[in-house]
């Protein structure tokens, strides 16, 4: 299993409990994926505790801080770890690589203090001080509320949650929540705790203000603009799936998500995909898809079938999420000519004016050629211009040159070797 989030953990538990040899590989030092990592064991909710305990009690081999970066030949994956390269030879593979936040360029979005809601939340959970800090949360998606709740618990002063979607759309989504009792309880639970935090619909950030650090954010509802002071602007426009590894392995992708059949099988034999890469559906959806993949991987599809009904429920929930939080076209026009689109390579919107495709852009401006490998600007460019980035090559993440060089024992012993210092 690649990914130790809910989807990968669920698949791993099912497979290991059926006496298969199972490895879970995750690039983060912690288990639990985006939602559960960094949470102290004692404060973990019931679901998280259940799955993490189940995983710890199984024979699953866990490889943390291990980044899958290449697949040199069929059924083989390479992972870089702090101690060297690991080689995995698999018979069945579950891709549970999750999602990342979508950032869209607007003036000031690169100022220090502007970051992704999920990112700020994760930092706060691991000890970054947010107590008494003024935080504005903006962008889109249910994650904004979860983060508002989490940051309040850490003592932050969350002054506003600005959701770009319209109230009417979210109400439709809210209504459909009624068909998902657990989500509803979760939603109400969050709501009662973040009471006092204004939750504004149909408004979005147009500018982050400040000279060396964000000091305030200007928001608009399309007709009126106003400015709110803040120490942090947590801004993200929902999630985009991590498709790099599925694409490298040749899995078919349609409408931005990995195509899977009812057994969570991709177009590549013996390769499954579960969780966010098949559609942004949240933790429960990821758990069920992971279990389905696990059961099919151990050749017990009848057990998988028992989960189809529940999964269909969560897929309806997922579809309503997509609808309710669809991004408004105004967001394509936030950036001004001198707004950075690619912060790794300092490329501004005006630099893209003659470009016709993502490839064109990369060649002519270097947009997407920096150390984030286009994860941030590539996703933004896809939303802004409709440019697809479907060419994926190893390394999937930046790795040491030695990790790409295979076995290097044959190298001559070199003494007095100068050290090339890290990038300045």
């Amino acid at each position: 299993m690649v990914g130790a989030g809910p989807a990968g953990i669920a698949a791993a538990c099912v497979a290991a409990e059926n006496r298969r040899t199972v490895a879970v590989v995750d690039n983060s030092p912690w288990l639990g994926g985006q939602i559960w990592r960094g949470i102290q064991t004692k404060t973990r909710g019931g679901t998280a505790r259940h799955w993490l305990d189940r995983l710890q009690n199984s024979d699953v081999q866990i490889f943390s801080s291990a980044t899958i970066f290449a697949s040199p030949s069929a059924n083989q994956l390479l992972a870089e770890t702090p101690d060297g390269v690991l080689e995995f030879n698999w018979k069945k593979l579950v891709l549970a690589t999750g999602a990342r936040e979508l950032f869209l360029p607007f003036p000031g979005w690169t100022l220090p203090g502007v970051m992704g809601p999920g990112g700020l939340h994760a930092m706060a959970k691991s000890g970054w001080p947010v107590a008494e800090k003024k935080v504005v949360i903006a962008g889109s998606g249910p994650l904004l509320l979860a983060v508002a709740d989490g940051l309040k618990k850490e003592g932050a002063r969350v002054s506003l949650v600005a959701e770009q979607a319209n109230w009417s759309e979210v109400m439709r989504f809210g209504l459909s929540l009624l068909r998902h009792p657990r989500k509803l309880i979760q939603g109400v639970g969050i709501k009662s705790r973040i009471i006092g935090v204004p939750y504004h619909f149909g408004c979005w950030p147009v500018r982050a203000n400040g000279s060396s650090q964000v000091e305030s954010v200007t928001l608009t509802d399309g007709s009126r603009s106003w400015t709110v002071d803040c120490d942090y602007l947590a801004c993200g426009f929902h999630l985009v799936p991590n498709l790099e590894l599925p694409r490298l392995l040749g899995c078919a992708v349609s409408n931005g998500y990995v195509s899977v059949n009812e057994f969570q099988l991709t177009s590549v034999p013996d390769v499954f995909c579960a969780g966010e890469p098949t559609g942004i559906g949240g933790v429960d959806c990821a758990l069920i898809e992971g279990q389905v993949a696990g059961w099919v991987a151990v050749e017990a599809p009848d057990y998988a079938r028992k989960l189809f009904g529940l999964r269909a429920d969560w897929h309806r929930f997922r579809a309503s999420l997509h609808q309710a939080f669809a991004l408004r076209p105004e967001l394509r026009r936030l950036a001004t000519p001198n707004t950075y689109v690619c912060r790794c390579e300092d490329v501004r919107l005006e630099d893209l004016s003659n470009c016709k495709s993502w490839r064109d852009t990369k060649l002519n401006t270097r947009c997407g050629m920096g150390s984030c490998q286009g994860r941030i600007c590539g996703a933004a460019a896809e939303f802004l211009f409709g440019w697809k980035n479907d060419s994926v090559r190893p390394p999937l993440f930046p790795v040491r040159a030695s990790s790409l060089a295979g076995k290097t024992d044959a190298l001559p012993e070199i003494t007095a070797e100068p050290n090339i210092s890290s990038p300045t």
Binding site: K356, A401, L404, T408, T415, I420
Partner: protein, 337 residues
């Protein structure tokens, strides 16, 4: 890689690369900053005394012909490039060679052509060349022209079956930014041996530092590899070779790998000029690993030949007729769409 380099595999190669390098120097003031022209020089490194002998031969050859080159002993090489391994024999610095960022240089050249009223059509897939002059597009439409130049690089044989141009695949590894660490384009002299070994896969140590501080690590050469995917086996060999010369590279962070195809001819010289038996079809292809360097000279030669003006260097050695001689084996322009 965008290395602009004078090479001396043959007199004809030397003449073309030297001519073209001069044209790059002349163009330099007009190039946009994004082309990142940097006259960093080439450092050929010699691993042993045998290669040092080649260094001395090369120095003499270059200097006799007005190309500045200087021999460096082991200590001078270490001073010039501190990250090279210590026990090298020496090297040759070719002072006026340089590097360029090819996509932006190409864009500049295209825009200059457009300023001279050339029309550019992108996304225009040519399917066939017409014997009577002109091309057939993928959508079946025709475009007539007095003369068509097949400058389709590694894809040029698709338009002229039988053209003796083969795809020779190359890999590059690109690092994060490490500005100021590497100063020259550095190439092992052993490169001469490996680049010459026609038929087998080969790797050679070849690094370049871009103005951004990104280090490009090369190079590999492979026939019969049509796809653009990364071949891990050759990538590993290529990196191991690079680490032998510059061990510190092993610790650098790699952000990308790239592959491309070179258009290789049997005699390692490009095809520039009309095909035999059809004055309406011209060639500008087969530049192998030197097509960035020799692009400007190719353009000049082609122009002078088309306008029947005297050429600045003899165009003879590059005439397609040398490889496409007999009538029977002359390539038939393809007419089937």
């Amino acid at each position: 890689m965008g290395h602009i380099v004078v090479m001396d595999d043959s007199e004809a190669q030397f003449a073309l690369t030297r001519y073209s390098r001069r044209l790059w120097h002349e163009l330099r003031p007009d190039l946009p900053a994004s082309a990142e022209y940097d006259q960093c020089g080439t450092l050929w490194v010699a691993a042993d005394e045998q290669e040092m002998a080649e260094v001395r031969r090369k120095e003499k050859y270059y200097n006799q012909r007005g190309v500045r080159a200087e021999v460096l002993d082991a200590r001078a090489v270490a001073a010039a490039e501190p990250y090279l391994r210590r026990n090298l024999a020496g090297g040759l610095r070719v002072v006026d060679d340089g590097v360029i960022y090819p996509p932006c240089a190409a864009r500049y050249l295209i825009e200059s052509a457009i300023a001279w009223k050339a029309q550019l059509r992108t996304g225009a897939d040519v399917r066939a060349l017409l014997r009577e002059g002109g091309v057939v597009m993928a959508d079946g439409s025709r475009f007539s022209a007095g003369i068509v130049v097949n400058a389709a690089g590694p894809w040029s044989p698709a338009l002229i079956p039988g053209l003796p141009v083969r795809k020779r695949k190359g890999h590059l590894v690109i690092t994060d930014r490490y500005p100021g660490q590497i100063h020259h384009q550095i190439i092992e002299l052993g490169y001469l041996k490996s680049a010459h070994s026609v038929g087998t896969d080969s790797v050679a140590f070849n690094v370049q530092c871009r103005k951004t501080g990104q280090i490009l690590i090369g190079s590999s050469r492979q026939y019969n590899e049509e796809g653009t995917e990364i071949n891990h086996e050759i990538l590993e060999r290529m990196l191991q070779r690079a680490f032998e010369y510059m061990p510190g590279l092993a610790k650098l962070t790699v952000t990308r790998c790239w592959t491309g195809h070179r258009a290789a001819t049997p005699d390692k010289l490009p095809l520039i000029g009309p095909v035999p038996d059809n004055e309406k079809i011209w060639l500008a292809t087969g530049h192998e690993g030197l097509g960035i360097t020799t692009s400007l000279a190719t353009g000049k030669l082609l122009t002078d030949l088309l306008l029947e003006r005297p050429t600045e260097i003899s165009a003879e050695p590059y005439a397609p007729a040398r490889l496409l001689q007999t009538n029977e084996s002359a390539p038939e322009p393809c007419l089937t769409a």
